[in-house]
């Protein structure tokens, strides 16, 4: 299979403009006749559904949540990037493009990243017009802050609740279209299979989570905006319901899955407290603007942090990376924190945390200013740990946070299944092997508001789509296989809750496919995961009925998919015998323990094709990456 990214010809800064000029557009009167299914109503899905409805398409939006406003996007804290250059510090489209390609350790497509940087400003304009209450300065204009991996201040934010406010903006636009009858909203419906007719995506099988009924929906195009798969690790900063199910089912129907091993471990999260823990909580990266990261210089120093004099503290990021300091990219910050703890310098009871200290910032600007910027984060920290971060340094440790990998898409955001488009965190996106902070919100909204609204028209006009109904045999087949699987789950009376299998999978992925990976560990994971999967199907307990609201059934279904997907993740990590960004292969590092890329052999997107048998025999296809505008170099943040 040749993976054609369909990148338009021409200079990098002209591609998107030329593309839009050359693309075919749907006659306004015909838009209504095209039905589009949008699965997922987070930032990417809600913005897509709203903007497609504004254009006049017949949109059906689906979410397993009770409301679009609950999507995991709501939890994003720190901010969203754009190249407005309001602070006059030298930002430009080119700089955001450059930072993103470099930050992703040269494993993203240049053309996509450039388009993202070009669109970034439109997003801020649009969201402001929608009433998103971004932070402002006294003069009434918008404020910015800095984020990791950049030396300019280009992040827009709404206190510590940027994702919430952006999602509410998109949600409100979506609800406006629902009120106007342009979007039919279907809540509490979970996608359990994709329906293809002659190889083209034409519909979806959903389960109504309240009544248990299976529903068939047909369309001219299907959009997945179903979020990332970080919950594969069980413990992550993702919401409890985040899952890989929709993407995985599409993968099993033929959509290639790209770079599944590219996962982001975020450096600043509240450390694990015990076995009972159901999720980890992020402390936004924006805190690294004012907080200083350190550990005691001496291993086993049990003094309380305020008793440790300045000279006996190791500000390891500031010391090692003088020009970026605490604002190095996430992968670098996480790895260094891990290294400190591995060397026995970690703090807290478990020794698995480092300090994030606001003492200096509070002295400098006062507690009030810090409260204004980060009040909700400090509040959250105190709730969880029972410690007051205004008085004692926070303790933080890296945690799984984001997934750069996802379904492979071309420049049009279309997967390898014609008609199936993938947006937001669910696609393999523009972030290469490491995403910069405040760029996921930007990408989700670029995909939803500004890209898919253009590219889908081109698809619809260019392809003759025969009329079909849900009576087509392909729907019956898909529904039958969904039902068989649900029945199997409901028949499982093994006595072990699904969460236990999920935790076991998570532990293996964290140990063997987490912050550092090596051949031996990955082979171990590849042996263990199929065993857990087998035990799951023998030993899981799913009580209750299939005809009503059954959370155990929902959870078991998602865990079953993670148990398959986790294997592909480990396989991808094993196959990529280089380090890049968040994928750190211990066998491939510089003398200073930085990720060492192997451009000769791995300058490509790894896209996996399901082979219908077992996951181990999935076929690997490579999309070569070329860098014509940013010079391939070893990343340095010194």
């Amino acid at each position: 299979m040749i993976l054609d990214a369909k990148i338009p010809p021409g200079a990098i800064d002209k591609k998107w403009t030329d593309y839009r000029f050359n693309m075919k557009v749907v006659n306004p009167a015909n838009k209504r006749k095209h039905k589009i299914i949008v699965v997922g109503t987070g930032l990417a899905g809600a913005s897509a559904a709203a903007s497609l409805a504004e254009l006049g398409y017949n949109v059906h939006a689906f979410t397993f949540h009770d409301s679009p406003r609950r999507a995991h996007s709501i939890a994003a804290q720190g901010g969203i990037n754009a190249t407005k250059d309001y602070p006059n510090d030298g930002d430009s489209v080119r700089r955001l493009f450059y930072d993103t390609v470099k930050g992703g350790d040269f494993r993203a497509r240049e053309a996509n990243v450039h388009r993202l940087a070009e669109i970034s400003n439109q997003i801020i304009d649009h969201c402001t017009a929608l009433g998103v209450p971004f932070a402002r300065e006294y003069g009434g204009l918008l404020d910015n802050r800095s984020f990791g991996g950049a030396q300019v201040s280009r992040t827009f934010y709404a206190r510590g609740q940027t994702g919430q406010q952006l999602l509410l903006g998109a949600y409100q636009s979506l609800m406006r279209q629902v009120g106007a009858g342009q979007v039919k909203l279907h809540t509490r419906l979970e996608m359990l299979d994709l329906v293809t007719v002659d190889g083209v995506a034409r519909g979806v099988i959903f389960r109504n989570l309240v009544t248990g009924e299976l529903e068939r929906h047909e369309a001219d195009a299907v959009i997945l905006a179903t979020g990332g798969y970080g919950r594969a690790f069980y413990l992550s900063t993702n919401a409890a319901g985040s899952n890989v199910t929709a993407a995985w089912r599409a993968h099993k129907r033929g959509a290639l899955f790209a770079n599944p091993c590219f996962t982001q471990i975020h450096p600043t999260c509240v450390p694990v407290a015990g076995e009972h823990q159901s999720k980890l909580t992020l402390m936004s990266e924006s805190l690294r603007n004012d907080g200083r990261v350190w550990v005691p210089r001496k291993a086993g120093d049990t003094r309380s942090p305020d008793q440790i004099p300045e000279a006996e503290r190791r500000y390891f990021l500031e010391e090692k990376y003088p020009s970026f300091g605490n604002l190095v990219p996430r992968d670098v910050a996480s790895r260094n924190a891990k290294q400190m703890c591995d060397e026995g310098l970690g703090v807290g009871e478990s020794g698995l945390s480092v300090y994030l200290d606001f003492h200096d910032a509070i002295e400098r600007v006062g507690e009030g200013k810090i409260r204004e910027k980060y009040g909700n984060l400090f509040h959250m920290y105190e709730k969880i740990t029972d410690e007051n971060p205004y008085q004692v340094p926070m303790r933080i440790y890296p945690a799984v946070h984001y997934t750069m990998g996802g379904l492979w898409v071309d420049y049009n955001l279309m997967s390898t299944i014609p008609g199936l488009h993938v947006l937001g965190e669910a696609n393999f996106s523009d972030h290469g092997a490491n995403r910069l902070g405040a760029s996921a919100l930007m990408q989700g909204l670029a995909d939803g508001y500004f890209i898919i609204s253009q590219t889908i028209g081109n698809y619809l006009v260019s392809n003759a789509l025969p009329k079909i109904t849900t009576e087509h045999a392909a729907f019956a087949d898909a529904e039958r296989s969904v039902k068989a699987r649900l029945d199997k789950l409901l028949g499982a009376k093994g006595g072990t809750p699904p969460a236990e299998f999920h935790k076991r999978l998570g532990k293996i992925l964290w140990d063997d496919c987490g912050m550092a990976r090596n051949e031996e560990g990955l082979k171990h994971a590849l042996e263990e995961i199929p065993k857990i999967r087998e035990e799951f199907w023998r030993g899981v307990s799913v009580t209750g009925s299939g005809q009503d609201f059954n959370l155990a059934l929902e959870e078991a279904g998602r865990v079953a998919d993670f148990l398959e997907f986790g294997e592909l993740m480990a396989l991808d990590a094993l196959t990529r015998r280089e380090s890049c960004g968040g994928h750190f292969r211990e066998e491939s590092q510089t003398s200073e323990n930085e990720a060492l890329r192997d451009d000769e052999n791995f300058c490509h997107v790894a896209a996996w094709e399901h082979q219908g048998k077992n996951i181990a025999s999935s076929a690997l296809h490579k999309e070569p990456l070329t860098f014509e505008n940013v010079h391939l170099t070893q990343r340095s943040y010194k």
Binding site: F134, A135, N550
Partner: protein
């Protein structure tokens, strides 16, 4: 820690419900309330029993999904805190804890502790927005907004749509939820063109959906996990009064600003 739980069980919206008593043993004080319930449910599953339905997602107090009345209080005893951010260290060892769903006509029970809050979405769909088509916005700094107004808008916009205000209100009124949205958008210059139309439409939708009237008991503010102030209700009432006086067709109103 050990607790005696009284959990509300109800097969569906039409069934009669009752309390089920269970012991929760060996609970760590560092567990969140929901993690404690997770353990109870895992035990149910081990014993082949039907797990108790309760909803949650973000588990960090921002998505508004969790919705438990704990010992008579929506989201429990800790002020400014959602149930998912409530930690067991806030309870006394050996205590009896009663857990119920939101109770309001407009929020029918789906099962056990899970309710249907689609009515909130419906209220938003009639006016809780600013009508801007994608692509048509001016430069974001083209319209300065005084910091004070932007901050007030953000205070109101912090609402997570959980419905605790409705659950706490003796009349099951949704005034605080509606007022928070009206006030968020009404504080911004972008929100002015639709200001009157918005408030009138949202309030009448709220009435139509079976939420009760506001009798100024302020229970909503006390229960709100984001501590949204009832001042927004007063502000909305002013807007509503002006709109009623002027009719909703007037495009722009300076009143109440």
């Amino acid at each position: 820690m050990n607790f005696k739980l009284r959990l509300w069980r109800q097969a569906n919206g039409n069934a009669k419900g009752n309390f089920q008593e269970v012991e929760a043993q060996g609970v760590s004080p560092d567990m969140s309330f929901l993690e404690m319930l997770d353990e109870v449910n895992n035990d149910f599953l081990r014993e082949g029993k039907d797990a108790v339905a309760f909803e949650s997602d973000c588990r960090e107090g921002i998505c508004g999904t969790c919705s438990l009345v704990i010992n008579g209080l929506p989201h429990g005893p800790d002020r400014g805190t959602t149930a998912c951010q409530l930690y067991m260290r806030k309870f006394k060892d050996g205590q009896t804890i009663t857990v119920e769903p939101w109770r309001a006509k407009a929020f029918p029970v789906i099962k056990d502790l899970a309710v249907d809050r689609a009515a909130f979405d419906e209220i938003i769909s009639v006016g809780g927005f600013i009508s801007v088509k994608t692509g048509s916005a001016p430069d974001a700094n083209g319209l300065p907004v005084p910091k004070r107004d932007a901050d007030s808008a953000m205070d109101a916009a912090a609402c997570i749509g959980c419905g605790a205000c409705v659950a706490a209100c003796p009349n099951a009124s949704a005034m605080l939820f509606v007022a928070a949205k009206v006030s968020h958008l009404g504080h911004l210059p972008q929100g002015q063109p639709e200001r009157q139309r918005r408030v009138v439409r949202m309030v009448s939708k709220m009435d139509e959906l079976g939420f009760g009237n506001c009798s100024n008991r302020n229970e909503c503010e006390a229960a709100c996990p984001k501590e949204i102030s009832v001042e927004h209700i007063a502000r909305m009432n002013r807007d509503y009064g002006v709109s009623a006086l002027l009719g909703t067709d007037r495009d722009r109103s300076e009143a109440g600003a």
